[in-house]
Amino acid sequence: MTNSISCVEQTGCILLIGSNTTEQHPLIGTRIINAVKKGMKLIVADNRKIRLAEIADMHIRLENGTNVAFLNGLMHVIIKEGLADDEYVKTRTENYDELKAIVEEYTPERTAEICKITPEEVVNAARMYSAPEAAMIVYCMGITQHSHGVDNVKSCANLAMLTGNVGKAGTGVNPLRGQNNVQGACDMGALPNVYTGYQKVVDEASRAVFEKAWGVENLPGNVGLTVTTAINAACDGQLKALFVLGENPMMSDPDQHHVKTGLENLDFLVVQDIFPTPTTALADVVLPAACYAEKDGTFTSTERRVQRVRKACDPPGKARQDWEIVGDIAKRMGYDGLTYNSPEEIMDEITRVTPIYGGMQYDRIDQVGLQWPCPDREHPGTPFLHKGTFKRGLGLFGPASYMPPMELPDEEYPFLLATGRCYFHFHTGTMTRRTRLLDREERFPYVEINLDDAKRLGIYDRFPVMVSTRRGEVKALARVSDVVVPGHLFMTFHFEEAAANALTNNALDPVAKIPEYKVCAAQVRRAS
C-alpha cells in the first residue's frame, strides 16, 4: 500500500476494485463499512456481488478482465469534464500527453460496451471518485491476476495521479496483501530481480554491496525465474532441482497438471513445510518446519508495518526453524555466512544491507511495529509514500490500452471462471482446513453459479456438479445465487479434493508473470 490502513478513515471516497475486503482482509473491510456509515462514498467495481457491494453507493459489475478499459473510461470522463487535478499533473507528473491520447478513445459508450456496463455508470463513478479532496483506490488480486495485470496496476496509478490522489493521507494506490508476509517476502528480496529493499540484481553497485556484506564473489547479475516460469522451466527440463520452503505450488499454481508434470520432471525436489501437502507428496526430501506460533521473527503487513512474531510454544517432534535448516544446508555447502544464533541477528544484518529497513531493530519494533521506509534508528517510519515527490522524481503516467484476456468463453466452454478465496479458508487450506471451526464452516469445495444458469442446466443448490476447462475437471457442490452474474462461475482454490487450479489457465502477464486466475473458459454440468 502507498498509504496506511487508517487512511480509510481519512478519505472521501474509495474505489474498491478486485478486492473482496470483508472476506479477505476483514479488519480493513470493517473499516470501510464504518466509513460508509459515516458518509464516505464507496464505489465497488467487481463482477461479484460481494458484501461491500450491498452497502456501496455504486456497484459496477464490470466484466472480468476489462479493468484497463474501465479505468481508462473513468480518466476519459475526468479529463473531459475538467475534474483532474491540473496543478498536481503539471508539477508532479510526466507523460500526461500520452495518457490523454490513449484515454481519449475510451468514451463512456465504448467503455460501457467493453465492460458490459452502462455509460452512466462510467460517468457517475468518475465524478464520484474525483469529487472529494482525498480519494483512495483499494485493490487486490482482482486487478493483478490477469494476463495484463501490470497494465491494470499502472492504470490504477494513472487514475490516482490524474486526480492528485498520491502522496497524502486518505489517498493512494493501495493493493491489499493477501498473505501475512507477502510484503515482507518481497521486501526481503525473495524475488528473482531484487535483493532486499528492491535493490536490483542487475545493478552492479547493488551486487557489490551484497558481495561485501556476505563475503562472497561473483553474485549473479541476471534476473532469475519466477515461481510460474520456474515450473515451465521444470517442464522443459531446464530446471533440475527445486527447493520449496513453505509453499504448495501443486495447489496454488495455475494448471495443476502442468505443475505436476514439472515437479515430477525434476531430478530433485526438497519441500520444507508444516503439514503434508500435495507438493510434499512429490518431494524427494521433506523437511519438517516450525509454524508461526513456534518461532521468533518479523512479518511485514500490507501497510509496510514490520511487526514481531514471537515464539509461544515448541515445534512438534523434530521440526526445526526454517532459518536453522537453511543455515545447516549452507554450512554443508561450505558457507558459514548463514549460521546465526537468532532471528534478531539476521534482522541486524538485514538492517545493515537494506536502507528502507535501516531502523527496524527488534528493540525499536518491540511494542509497535514501524512502517518502512525507516532508514535509521531515529526515523519514525513512513505512514504514506510519495509525499512531496516520487521516488523517481516525477510520477510517470504509464497509459495502457485494453487487451482482452487470453482465454475467453466460447461455444465449448461457455462460462467465464474466476478463482479466489472464501472468508473461512486461507490459501491452499493447509492451516484453516485443520482448524475445527473454520473447517466446519466450509467443508466442501463449491462453485458459485447464477440462478438463471442453474435453472437452465437443472442444477440445484448444494448438488454436485462437474466443472471443466481445457486443462482439467473437478467435482464441487453448486452454490446457486446472484453473487455471480449469468455466464460466470467462481471457485476457491482451498480444496485439495477439487483443486481449482486443475482448471486454471497458465497464461501469464508478460512482465509480472502473474497467472490469469480471474478469467478462463469453463463448462459446468450436473454430476451423475
Binding site: T30, K37, R440
Partner: protein, 329 residues
C-alpha cells in the same frame, strides 16, 4: 474491613500464589490488560474492566473433556491449585452468577465446575475505572470486593472464605466505622442508568414483537461473522466439541463456538435453522434479551459492553439497542 493500598494488595496476592492459581489484572508488554499471573506483567488493578471476558478463567476458549488411553476414558480432573480470580466488575459478577447457574442447572457441567469449585472470586469497584471513572459496587456475588475510594481499596469480604483470606492481609483496619463505605455506596447508586434503561426498553420491544425482520436484516449487512461478540461475552457459553489425537491418545476437546457462524446450527442433512445472516444477527440479541428472559427470568446481557468494544462494525448489543429504542418505541 481493611483499607489497603495497591502495593499492599499486590503483596497480599503474591503471598497467596503458592496456594492459588492466581488470575489478577496485569498490564502486558504492549499495554493490554489481562487476567494473568503477577509474573506476566505489571499489577494493574486499576483501569476498569478487563477487555477479555473474565469468565474465561472457568470456561476457557479451549478445554479438554477427557482423554482416552487404550479404550479407557479418563475425564478431566480439577486443577492442581484452586483458581483465584481478581478484578471482576459488578457486571462481571452478574455474568458469573448467571453462568454458574447455567452450568449447574439440569445437568451439572463438571468440566466447568472442576475449575469453579473451590475458587475464590474477588471483585473490584469504586473510583478505579478507566480514567478514574467510578465503577458500580457489586455488594456481594463474590468472596471479597475491593472498593476504591480513589486512594485506597476498602477490602470487603462477603463470604467465610473471603473473611479467612482478608485476615491474612497486611493492612490497616478501616477506622471510619462504615461511614466511608456508605458514601461510596451512595455514589454507586447514583451512577447513570441510561444503558440499563435502553437495553431494558429494547428487550421489551423485542419481546413484544415490535422489532422487524427488516431491521435485523439491516444490522446483519454490517456483520462479517468475526465472532468477536460471542467470544468476548462473559455470558456466552456455546461450545463446539471435537475429537483430536494427541501423542497417540484421543482427546475430546471443546472450544468456544459462535452462533454468528453459518455452521453453528447446520445439520448433517444440510438443513439450517439459522442459515441466513439475518437469523443469526437476530438470535445473538434476541437470545440475551428475550429468550433468556423467558427461560431464566432475566436478560443475560449484563451491560458489560465488551461486544460493543470488540465489534469492528459497531453493532454490539448496546449500539443495536439504542437503534431499536430510537426506531421502534
Amino acid at each position: 474491613m481493611k483499607r489497603a493500598k495497591t502495593e499492599e494488595l499486590k503483596t497480599f496476592f503474591e503471598s497467596l500464589s503458592d496456594k492459588y492459581d492466581l488470575r489478577v489484572p496485569v498490564k502486558l508488554h504492549d499495554g493490554t490488560r489481562v487476567l494473568g499471573s503477577l509474573s506476566e506483567g505489571e499489577f494493574a488493578i486499576e483501569g476498569g474492566k478487563i477487555p477479555q471476558k473474565p469468565t474465561s478463567v472457568f470456561f476457557p476458549q479451549f478445554d479438554e473433556m477427557f482423554v482416552v488411553t487404550d479404550g479407557d476414558v479418563a475425564m478431566a480432573k480439577p486443577p492442581a491449585k484452586p483458581i483465584m480470580v481478581v478484578g471482576m466488575t459488578a457486571e462481571d459478577l452478574d455474568c458469573l452468577e448467571f453462568i454458574d447457574k447455567f452450568f449447574a442447572e439440569n445437568f451439572r457441567d463438571n468440566i466447568y465446575y472442576n475449575k469453579r469449585d473451590g475458587s475464590v472470586v474477588v471483585g473490584v469497584s469504586g473510583r478505579c475505572g478507566k480514567d478514574g471513572e467510578f465503577m458500580k459496587i457489586a455488594g456481594g456475588k463474590c468472596d471479597i470486593e475491593l472498593i476504591s475510594d480513589g486512594e485506597c481499596f476498602i477490602v470487603h469480604p462477603y463470604t467465610d472464605k473471603g473473611e479467612g483470606l482478608v485476615e491474612k492481609l497486611q493492612a490497616d483496619e478501616c477506622g471510619c466505622g462504615g461511614v466511608h463505605m456508605e458514601a461510596l455506596r451512595k455514589e454507586s447508586d447514583a451512577l447513570p442508568k441510561e444503558d440499563e434503561e435502553t437495553v431494558d426498553k429494547a428487550s421489551e420491544l423485542i419481546r413484544q414483537g415490535k422489532v422487524t425482520d427488516e431491521f435485523w436484516d439491516e444490522i446483519a449487512t454490517r456483520c462479517i461473522a468475526c465472532t468477536s461478540c460471542n467470544l468476548a461475552c462473559p455470558t456466552c457459553t456455546c461450545f463446539e466439541v471435537y475429537d483430536r489425537e494427541r501423542d497417540g491418545k484421543m482427546v475430546r476437546q471443546r472450544i468456544w463456538d459462535s452462533c454468528q457462524l453459518d455452521g453453528f446450527m447446520r445439520e448433517a442433512s444440510g438443513h439450517n435453522p439459522s442459515g441466513k445472516q439475518l437469523q443469526r444477527t437476530r438470535r445473538r440479541i434476541h437470545h440475551k434479551l428475550a429468550a433468556d428472559v423467558e427461560r431464566w427470568g432475566h436478560r443475560t446481557c449484563m451491560l458489560c459492553g465488551r461486544c460493543d468494544e470488540v465489534c469492528p462494525t459497531e453493532i454490539g448489543i448496546k449500539s443495536v439497542c439504542r437503534e431499536i429504542v430510537k426506531r421502534f418505541s
